[in-house]
Symmetry: C2
Subunit: 213 residues, 2 copies
DNA sequence: AGGTGTTTGAAACACTTGTTTGACATGGCG
DNA sequence: CGCCATGTCAAACAAGTGTTTCAAACACCT
């Protein structure tokens, strides 16, 4: 079952360790021990701990983001003015499908990617920003079509709230306080979309002036 | 300006270091260096790194949560059926006020507490769960009054989404991608409330069965 | 078989980690 | 003054960190 290829085995183990303990908390030796390889092989195959993290992250996030864009294209092809619900569904389903399709490893990957968003270390946030810039821009543009009444600035702000929710959803997965049953992605998706769509569609906020009569 | 008391100086420095690098990423020596004290003094005053984290966390979170409950009581006293907006405002304002009132340190504390929510390490999540159990229960009960049409189970789920948003808001503060201007808590609060209130009030999700005809 | 480039292995590198120790200074009190 | 608790300090502790080295093993090709 486990891949014979050492590179792949290292990535599998790194995924687990980074998910469980974060970038600093995970040690290369715990990774190599779990992967059944020598410590040196990490530097041989990847170059450094940071490079290993990037590789681990990319292996998870890239296909998910590609699937996101694919589903978004599908929505845009079907609806000339896309609904918020369709856009949000295209945004979250690739994550949920990943989790559902991979069993235990799905939970690990969810935690890992959710966690990576909130890593304080520059290293991680730089990688994440890289990986998500295109997806962010495309979905923001789609949302601007779907919710024309809200300024793009506030929409961008709201999109980040949506990302925050997904991050949290993923990060909690595989812990004692998981937010959804990985087998039931329909209701997880429905709950998410119901909440987030209403939030995105809300009338633009009107900050009351600091002192109002 | 800086407190002369060593305990306080250590807590100040720990706050900064934990916020910037997380629990594992921050080293005791970087804390003591910043605080201008000896390494041993951390163990003298607190006992261990973990105990230092707990103390740092409690010093921030406790007063904020007390203020949350105070503002919630105020809302409940004024409105017999509280509005979602009022509840949400009571929930987020103590955070924003903290940030606004404390300048740089506010941003640090925001990042620190936001970050702590997503620490993978058991250590941190245990402390957080402790500190938030009462607030969570009280606000959930209030929301159940305000949104009677949504089941308490789904409401609990949505409340966690709200917490996710706040966490993210706080964690991004003090970084290059801060989500709001600390001086303008009015519009930050308005944006948050507009988004979250709409989400909370959304009609209950109706997960269609996995296979529907 | 011999030679080539690619992977592995054990060991060491220099350094940092959290924690402990014991000597030293300080300050209040009888 | 001596006494004792309270802090502080440099130094050391053992263990663990990411990274490097270099020889041995391997796989593959002519």
């Amino acid at each position: 079952m486990r891949p014979v290829d050492a590179t792949e085995r290292i990535l599998d183990a790194a995924e687990r360790e980074f998910a469980a303990h974060g970038f600093h908390g995970a040690s290369l030796r715990s990774v190599t021990r779990a992967a059944g390889v020598n410590v040196a092989s990490i530097h041989y195959h990847f170059g450094s701990k940071e490079a290993l993290l990037r590789a681990t992250l990319e292996r998870i996030v890239r296909p998910v983001n590609e699937e996101r864009l694919r589903q978004l294209d599908e929505v845009l092809a079907l609806e000339q003015v896309p609904s918020v619900e369709s856009i949000l569904t295209a945004f979250i389903r690739p994550d949920l499908e990943l989790i559902a399709g991979l069993g235990d490893r799905g939970a690990i990957m969810a935690r890992f990617s959710g966690r990576s968003y909130t890593e304080p270390e520059e290293v991680v946030s730089r990688i994440i920003t890289d990986l998500f810039s295109e997806v962010g821009a495309r979905f923001l543009a789609a949302l601007a079509l779907a919710v024309p009444d809200v300024s793009e600035d506030e929409l961008r702000w709201r999109l980040r709230c949506v990302v925050a929710i997904i991050t949290y959803l993923l990060a909690a997965q595989g812990t004692a306080r998981a937010l959804f049953d990985p087998c039931d992605i329909e209701s997880a998706s429905a709950r998410f979309v119901a909440f987030a769509a209403a939030g995105l569609r809300a009338p633009a906020s009107i900050p009351r002036p600091a002192n109002r009569l």
